[in-house]
């Protein structure tokens, strides 16, 4: 038996058990539905385009926020990592703002930006800034001191040092930070949609729940899981592509 088959055995058994249990109990629950009807609901929602439109909205906001917040976090992280006095100057400010849960900004965002893409992107960006900032800063602090000494001994100019030593040396960790931030981005986007913003997959779940359709609600859940999984696979592939053999070096260490 192949490894894939082994890995699939338990989930398949659980699905069958769930199907049988729900069918036999005969309950008309508002929280659960038999797996078969979840699949039917998923296919139907995919077929009529609503699921895809919701996916597009959520991913647009997740990626928009990820790139906006990620870029801000990356630039600030590089700055703070390279200019220690600036880091010390900003430390208190950063540590004071960072612990605010991004979703706590939903009411303010709603009032100042209104419903729609801008509002959701802003909240997601806020969540992503800190991951990128903190991890980029740490990546720079963690650069092998000998490499920086080599750059001094070879008399690299400051731009050369940054682009030829600092950024390549920190890149593997920066990419890990980006992957983490991407995970947060999807979570925050869906949360914002469930809590406030009437669009996307989060809102789809909410509407399915309120219209007493557990199979559709679970179909959304399943679909979000698949999208998240696909996203992670995609980013992991991109990481390998981007770093090439150097990435493997980092893994071996």
């Amino acid at each position: 038996m192949s490894r894939t088959a082994k890995a699939l055995a338990i989930p398949a058994a659980l699905l069958v058990a769930a199907e049988i249990a729900v069918r036999l109990s005969g309950t008309a629950s508002l929280a659960v539905a038999p797996p078969s009807s979840v699949v039917v609901a998923l296919l139907a929602a995919l077929g009529d385009g609503t699921m895809l439109a919701a996916t597009r909205d959520t991913l647009a906001c997740a990626f928009g926020g990820l790139f906006l917040g990620g870029a801000i976090g990356l630039v600030l992280g590089l700055l703070f990592g390279l200019v220690r006095p600036l880091d010390r100057l900003m430390e208190l400010t950063v540590e004071a703002i960072r612990p605010i849960p991004s979703v706590a900004l939903i009411p303010i965002g709603m009032l100042s930006l209104g419903f729609g893409y801008g509002f959701e992107i802003a909240i997601v960006a806020f969540a992503c800034v800190w991951t990128m900032l903190i991890m980029t800063r740490a990546a720079i602090a963690g650069i092998e001191p000998r490499l920086l000494e080599v750059s001094r001994a070879l008399r690299l100019s400051t731009p050369q040092r940054i682009f030829k030593i600092v950024i390549p040396a920190a890149l593997p960790r920066i990419i890990v930070a980006f992957r983490l931030a991407a995970g947060f981005a999807l979570v925050v986007a869906v949360t914002v949609e469930i809590a406030a913003n009437p669009q996307g997959m989060g809102y789809g779940i909410l509407i399915a729940q309120q219209s007493l359709s557990p199979q559709l609600m679970l179909a959304y859940l399943l679909w979000i899981g698949l999208v998240g999984y696909g996203l992670n696979v995609l980013l992991s592939l991109a990481q390998k592509k981007l770093l090439g053999r150097a990435a493997m070096v980092e893994v071996r260490r």
């Binding site: 092998e144 000998r146 080599v150 070879l154 008399r155 030829k164 030593i165 053999r245 070096v249």
Partner: protein
């Protein structure tokens, strides 16, 4: 810990015959109150190979770092080629012991050598030819596209030496460069280094733990004493060149020096 200076004239320019390539003048250095180097004076002649030994904590690596401009001395000065050292210089190359950390893991062998040329602003077209020549010189032709992690320790250290040679240095500062290599590789690299140095005429300041290596390579061996680091002995190595791993090491002079320096280290470690 008071110890008599084996040579009252330690560092008084024992090799004043040749013009000095590196000159330490009463160099003193302390880290947070603890003296590391005290009144270190030493002149290294042009083209000379000076090996520095001493128990750990005697400041031999610190002396090298001062000469390389990586550390500023608290007092005194170092001049290379007559000009005072105020920071790293292109004509002074440093070979670090930990080649694994000193090489850029994301660049190939050619890319690592290229870094020194990029820093020196060598035009792109020239680089390829020079990289090829440098890799050839250290015996790494055919490995240009390998990453450091795909190379053995000996090859990695050869690569670092190639990168240093790309600076076209007049002075090579080598900090226990072969300390982490196995015995066979170490001997091969010692001979390769000697022939490269003979070819380029570079002056070498070589820090090592290995007494035999110091005698085998050096024109002079400087023994440092710890707390604070100062010169304890200077041994002139009168062994003929080119040296040979078997014959040189069996010569009575080699054995005499080995005994003398061994006694020195034993006393220094107290």
């Amino acid at each position: 810990m008071e110890r008599t200076d084996l040579h009252g004239l330690a560092g008084q320019g024992a090799c004043a015959v040749r013009p000095a390539a590196i000159e330490f003048r009463e160099v003193g250095l302390a880290y947070s109150g603890k003296p590391i180097l005290a009144d270190l004076s030493l002149a290294v002649g042009k083209g000379e190979i000076v090996c520095v030994i001493g128990p750990s904590g005697c400041g031999k690596t610190t002396a090298l770092r001062v000469a390389g401009g990586l550390v500023r001395p608290g007092s005194g000065s170092v001049t290379v080629g007559g000009r005072p050292i105020t920071g790293p210089r292109r004509d002074v190359a440093i070979v670090f012991q930990d080649y694994g950390k000193a090489l850029l893991p994301w660049r190939t062998a050619a890319g690592n050598v290229s870094l020194a040329l990029e820093a020196a602003g060598a035009p792109m077209r020239e680089r390829k030819v020079r990289i090829h020549a440098l890799l050839e010189k250290v015996g790494l032709h055919g490995h240009a596209d390998k990453y450091p992690t795909e190379m053995s320790g000996g090859m990695q250290q050869r690569l670092q030496i190639a990168r240093c040679l790309a600076q076209e240095p007049s002075v090579l500062l080598m900090d226990e460069p072969f300390g982490a290599l196995d015995a066979m590789t170490r001997q091969t690299l010692q001979d390769e280094m000697l022939s490269i140095v003979a070819e380029t005429g570079a002056t070498v300041f070589f820090v090592t733990h290995d007494l035999e290596e110091a005698i085998y390579l050096g024109d002079r061996v400087i023994g440092l004493l710890p707390n604070p680091g100062r010169i304890g002995t200077i041994a002139e190595v009168g062994l003929p060149r080119p040296r040979n791993q078997l014959e040189t090491r069996e010569m009575p002079e080699f054995l005499r020096l080995r005994r003398a320096l061994f006694d020195f280290i034993e006393k220094a470690e107290g």
